[in-house]
């Protein structure tokens, strides 16, 4: 297979006429996901759960592939897979070490299951790869509505548990002493994360979910420590990556996901550089004030 063949397949996968017809709704869905992903990403970082996101997304993939095989609603399938994974990880992995081993066990199982379902699936191969690498253009309007609805649910849910979840994430001992219901919160958070992952799988694919759920927040944390600025920046970064990715992809004939992941990665690089400079400046000024104090 030559490079041109590969190019050609990618080109066929992204059917331009279909894309134009749906692009408006896709952009809205991507925008909402970018914002919600950026927001929940802050907690993913605070709770050190990047690996969990990846684990959930593989089971979400399995659910979606199963739904595809059965002719059921793919979004619902991916939702079921996500939620099962999220609740399992939440229940069995209260401690970080347990959690990582459980994710490590679940992830290949989910991926393998998904591959099995896809191998059995007789339909178009575009659908198959779409689940792994993103297929927002092939999601129809009712499903886009579902994706947006789910994102809004996550957004509202996060706002309701914002402070106790922050407390539990950053200062677990004192939060527990204060009576913050850490177990219920962490399970609730996993459910919200599961919903977000299910939406993301539809838009940028299960393999690339981290680009919207981790990278924007990781970038924001490089440049700020304010509990207000970090989420705002992270949402902005997620929004720019998701919407910018679609807008750029429209001009070419490639799938959208690489555009999204690349933008999100570039934002991270820039934030790292900015953060490093700030830190260097901060250390210098701290030294100066120390010397002044002496």
């Amino acid at each position: 297979m030559t490079a041109d063949d590969i190019w050609g397949r990618l080109f066929n996968f992204a059917n331009y006429g279909e894309l134009v017809a749906l692009v408006q709704n896709s952009i809205v869905a991507a925008a909402v996901l970018g914002i919600v992903g950026g927001l929940i990403g802050v907690f993913v970082m605070q709770r050190d759960m990047a690996f969990a996101v990846h684990g959930i997304s593989e089971l979400s993939f399995a659910g979606a592939a199963g739904a595809l095989l059965l002719g059921a609603n793919v979004v619902l399938g991916s939702l079921v897979g996500s939620l099962i994974a999220a609740v399992l990880i939440g229940l069995l992995g209260a401690k970080a070490r347990d959690r990582n081993s459980i994710i490590g066990v679940l992830m290949p199982f989910g991926l393998g299951l998904g591959i099995l379902f896809l191998a059995l699936y007789p339909g178009r191969s575009a659908n198959k790869f779409g689940l792994l690498t993103g297929q927002i253009i092939s999601v129809d309007i009712p499903q886009l509505g579902l994706l947006i609805g789910l994102s809004v649910v996550v957004l509202v849910g996060l706002l309701v548990v914002w402070r106790p979840l922050t407390f539990d994430s950053l200062d677990a001992d004192v939060a527990a002493a204060r009576g913050v219901p850490s177990r219920a919160l962490s399970l609730g958070f996993m459910v919200l994360l599961g919903l977000t992952v299910a939406v993301s799988v539809q838009i940028i694919g299960s393999l690339l979910v981290l680009a919207l759920l981790v990278t924007p927040a990781a970038a924001a944390l490089r440049v700020s420590s304010s509990p207000l600025v970090v989420p705002l920046l992270s949402m902005l970064f997620g929004f720019v990556s998701a919407v910018g990715g679609i807008l750029l992809a429209l001009g070419g004939s490639l799938p959208i996901s690489p555009y999204i992941t690349t933008i999100s990665f570039l934002i991270y690089i820039v934030c790292r550089i900015v953060g490093a400079r700030k830190a260097a400046g901060g250390r210098a000024s701290a030294r100066r004030s120390l010397q002044a104090a002496r």
Partner: protein, 277 residues
């Protein structure tokens, strides 16, 4: 509703254990514990690793139930998350890069338990400023906590613990890994609070020296037994030898107290975490 003809009983003790017993992993940590802590009293809880100091705190926080006996806070049964208890945890440095400034750490004490949209409130902000001023931490309130020294972080912790205007301050090794200067500063802060507000203090520590001047009473736990009394009554070779069941020397030098000869397995330094797990 019925009215109690006798009126509310006069409540003197802030904290009261009655014949309390607690085990851990099948072995008894302590039993028959009768303990009363009055308003403004400073109680130091001493004892080797594994003697049940942390479990005692967890019981007071309502995170662990007594096997038998009762424990009451201001005359009422303990419940989890009681705002009348302030908790200062073992010194655990906040990692750099955590999105939390000094004032945010204190704010968690003020409203961190509250559900609902995190809209800023003026009353909360004023309360945080008040607390920051009370622990003299206003200077670095806007710096990321991860960049602050252990002493500065611990000051903020005191401010955070005072958010609910507690009647009881629970301190779990709050001076651990602080240098002498900061040990003194933080313990002065706690001492000052109990003098000005009559807040009772239960202070778990493996080293009594930093707080020796302010301690009213000591609860000494060791090997399933305990004893209590003033520092002069408890920190004596004969008394501790009897508690440990083996000869132990209490040496006083330059105003410091050193307990020598504590048997193996009664390591006098902190390995608190094992017990906390």
């Amino acid at each position: 509703m019925t009215v109690n003809p006798a009126g509310p009983e006069p409540v003197e003790a802030v904290l009261e254990f009655e014949d309390g017993a607690l085990g851990f992993g099948g072995r008894s940590l302590w039993s028959g514990l009768d303990l009363t802590v009055k308003p403004g009293e400073f109680l130091a809880v001493l004892g080797p690793n594994g003697s049940g100091k942390t479990s005692l705190l967890k019981t007071i926080l309502g995170q662990q139930q007594l096997d038998s006996g009762t424990v009451r806070l201001s005359g009422h049964a303990i419940h989890r998350g009681d705002r009348r208890v302030g908790y200062i945890p073992q010194q655990k440095l906040v990692p750099p890069g955590t999105p939390l400034r000094g004032r945010d750490l204190v704010a968690l004490g003020v409203n961190g338990h509250r559900f609902g949209p995190p809209l800023p409130r003026r009353a909360d902000r004023e309360r945080v400023d008040e607390l920051l001023a009370a622990v003299a931490a206003a200077e670095y309130a806007d710096q990321p906590v991860g960049t602050l020294s252990g002493g500065e972080q611990q000051r903020l912790r005191v401010g955070q613990a005072l958010a609910g205007d507690p009647v009881l301050l629970l301190c779990d090794e709050p001076l651990l890994s602080l240098d002498l200067h900061h040990q003194r500063a933080v313990s002065e802060l706690i001492d000052q609070r109990r003098r000005t507000h009559d807040t009772a203090v239960v202070f778990v520590t493996h080293d009594v020296n930093p707080v020796l001047d302010v301690v009213d009473r000591i609860l000494y736990l060791a090997g399933g037994k305990f004893l209590q009394g003033t520092p002069a009554e408890v920190l004596r070779s004969d008394v501790l030898s009897e508690l440990y069941g083996t000869p132990v020397d209490v040496i006083r030098s330059h105003g410091r107290v050193i307990v020598v000869g504590v048997p193996d397995g009664h390591d006098h330094h902190d390995h608190h975490d094992e017990e906390a797990e």
